[in-house]
Symmetry: D3
Subunit: 129 residues, 6 copies
């Protein structure tokens, strides 16, 4: 059970419903993901958040696949199960197979390990951007 | 000051020196990064770790740039300063400019926020791979 | 299934039972939460921990609602499901509605994102307390 | 040194400068914090992010002080030094003294400990919102 | 459901099956843990990872029990449920009882709390190795 | 600079000074660590926290060295620099050399990596305590 009663489409006010409709169209979904239905309790936050999602995930120097790979790597590092499911689904829809997803996660494994070894050993920086 | 006295090249035993030489050659560096000099205290671990680095970061379905982007995203999520410096340097050497790095980090920002909103709201999964 | 067999009230020794009784009274519960039943295997730790809970969560400069909001924000940031449930329940008992909880979580979302952008961009401090 | 060259006010394009001016006015600052100067490399992201900051941190059911306390608790939990400095400064400007800040952090200490004990002991939920 | 279809023993190629057989023998298991079956999609990574597991968890200055305690502490701190289950099972097989596991977790609780208090209070180092 | 003005011994009230004296005696130090001087702003919290430290770190089924190793592993996983320094110093005082500390950190590296691979691959539990 979610922390809050999700704001279903039929119960949404006009501001919220307009965002819901845009979410469904942009993502090509027949339903609004639960994440956004929870945000429905704070319409201005939902609206500003959705505008930012479109900006950050929209066209730019990086393609959509790379952005979803980043999202999966971040979600795995944070151990967020909903998020890992969502970005895994997105990557499969973009054509990634099991071998490629395992390759992403091998990199996630490697550097989560190194990050903590380095912090625990108080390694001083010798490689700078 | 690091947690342990780093094992410098001149003090390394043969097993360690062989790995050090390979690290310098593969990365095209004139020195061994501190991270690996700390591992010099446990030669078998250094050797097995370096073999794994070459496997994980070597040729595969993902290109090197994508792997370094994952490494940067993971390191930012963990707040590891040495690691962020190292992978930022690697990405700049691969040709990423300030706009592209900022775009990577915008995605990191977005999903670190969403991960914790979703966990804190106990959102149930409706998007599955 | 928990990692350890929980120490039920009927199996508790006198030191543990005394703490259990105080927990039920202070929180107005008819049962002892599982968290404390697990601590029952280490009576001195249970006792010292409970004394500290009463000190930290008791009257002070911050009111109880603010302290539970902090607890929820921390638990969401750590992705601890039991904890999010417990502090969400406490906040609802204190009168917070769905809109207010969503507002708390919007702040949690915002700053989890910023924290990682800032660490990943190696931003130098220009705002000091 | 930051990961990217910060976009200074004199080098900002019109879209960025307009946001910079609003940031200075809303926060009552004579300079633009480094965080936003880094975002200057991605003007649309800066603009959408700043709109969201104003929405999330603006008037609502929770007052500004509570929101800054949440921000400090989140930043401490993530170990983000820049962020802890920034929100500590904001709370001091809002009148919090050393005793109150220590009280906030005592709650942060308590529940970061409990979160991990609970996850490590696989405690099953018995308190639901 | 896992993110990828696990590579079962009957579907493994020779390189993968050889590692699977060694895993079962070293751990004294009649099956291959799911963790390694997922790695089966990237045979070179599985092989290099398993070689490293044997090196890190094999004989050295620290005994196996201490290494499993570290693994449990890390897994609790990261909130990884599969991992907590696995290392808890290993420690019970090594003879740890409920009181000892609770004692491990009391230390995990204490220092997860202190870590975040210290970061949130910007405490300067006065104890150096 | 710390978030709060540290409460120095000469400025401490009787309740705080009594705890300070005990800390110096138990740890065999000539000064009070900054961590506890920050807690001096909340005397009841300092007192309850110190009582708990003595209970958790005192004699039990695990020896002091194992407890400090857990503390170091947790602190590395959280990236807390002050804490890593403090527990590294404690372990060196207990006789651990560079090889043993590197061995601890190799285990920390291994399982931080595995934790995130497992969470990111949605691996289902097949090893239970």
């Amino acid at each position: 059970m979610a922390m809050v009663k999700l704001v279903e489409e039929r119960d949404a006010n006009d501001q919220v419903r307009k965002v819901y409709d845009d979410i469904k169209q942009v993502f090509g979904l027949t339903f609004v993901p639960n994440l956004f239905k929870a945000m429905g309790h704070h319409p201005a936050y939902l609206e500003a958040t959705w505008a930012r999602v479109k900006t950050v995930m929209g066209p730019g120097a990086l393609d959509r696949k790379t952005k979803e790979i980043i999202a999966l790597a971040v979600s795995a590092t944070n151990g967020c199960e909903y998020c890992v499911n969502a970005h895994g689904a997105a990557l499969k829809a973009l054509g990634l197979g099991d071998a490629e997803i395992t390759e992403v996660m091998a990199v996630v494994d490697l550097f989560n390990g190194f990050n903590r070894f380095i912090d625990g050993m108080l390694i001083e920086s010798d490689l700078k951007p």
